[in-house]
């Protein structure tokens, strides 16, 4: 029996990219990145509690260009998800649901995420790498 041709929901690609949908999917993507980063934090703690060799090995990975890049991506992802999470919690209590406000807080979150991640790495790189 042939499947009945049911109406399909509009495909994602026919929509013009919008700040609302873009930030929504980024929230989910950064959530996944943070979840993976969380496992690395657990692994790091296990390493700190283990022998010196494990710790040195851990430090070498973190200090490499790949380690720094991963840390940068993780920190940016964490900062964004944290800020956008505040936006979600405010929506949960019914604040800022008007579309103009949603767009405004969206741009605010992007600006703050870039600013705070920049500030974090400025402090990290000037504060105590050596």
């Amino acid at each position: 029996m042939a499947a009945r041709q049911r109406p399909l929901s509009p495909h994602l690609q026919v929509y013009k990219p919008q700040i609302t949908s873009f930030l929504s999917i980024v929230h989910r993507a950064t959530g996944v990145v943070n979840a993976i980063g969380g496992l690395l934090i657990a692994a790091w703690l296990v390493c700190v509690a283990s022998d010196a060799q494990c710790y040195v090995w851990c430090q070498q990975i973190l200090a490499s260009w790949f380690g720094k890049l991963a840390l940068f991506a993780f920190s940016a992802s964490l900062v964004y998800h944290l800020l956008n999470g505040i936006r979600h919690l405010l929506w949960d209590i019914g604040w800022g649901m008007e579309i103009e406000t949603v767009v405004k807080t969206g741009y605010l979150v992007i600006a703050l995420a870039i600013g705070l991640t920049g500030l974090l790495w400025f402090v990290a790189l000037s504060g105590g790498v050596q």
Partner: protein, 126 residues
């Protein structure tokens, strides 16, 4: 419109999955906890840049830091597990979904337990 639901089901408010709003609510509760704990963790991590193993252990062993770190690990693993569960529910179906859902539960439970044991070892041997 006639409501065909049993009034008792409405009163219990648990829905067909039998856990009501628990998932949604715990995601918010852990989110609020992480609003405080995650910035603290970032601050803590940045303060440890360049530190040797003994200094890191000494920092973790401080009672306040150890408490916040364990809280952070629990809230983070819980929140991550709830979040990943929804992502898998949305995009993956069939036996792969069940397998992944179980894996996610186990991985985050083990990650939390391993991290807490590590913190405990550091605290009690400092």
């Amino acid at each position: 419109m006639t409501d065909m639901r049993d009034p008792l089901a409405t009163a219990r408010g648990l829905g067909s999955a039998k856990d009501g709003v628990n998932h949604w609510w715990m995601q918010r509760v852990t989110a609020i906890a992480l609003l405080v704990l995650a910035p603290w963790f970032i601050y803590f991590a940045v303060s440890l840049i360049g530190a040797d193993q003994d200094s890191v252990k000494a920092a973790i062993a401080k009672p306040l830091n150890a408490t916040l770190l364990v809280s952070f690990i629990i809230a983070m693993c819980w929140h991550a597990r709830l979040g990943l569960q929804v992502v898998v529910e949305d995009y993956i179906h069939g036996w792969q979904e069940i397998t992944l859902q179980l894996l996610i539960k186990f991985i985050y439970a083990i990650a939390a337990i391993a991290a807490i044991i590590a913190i405990g070892r550091i605290v009690f041997s400092a």
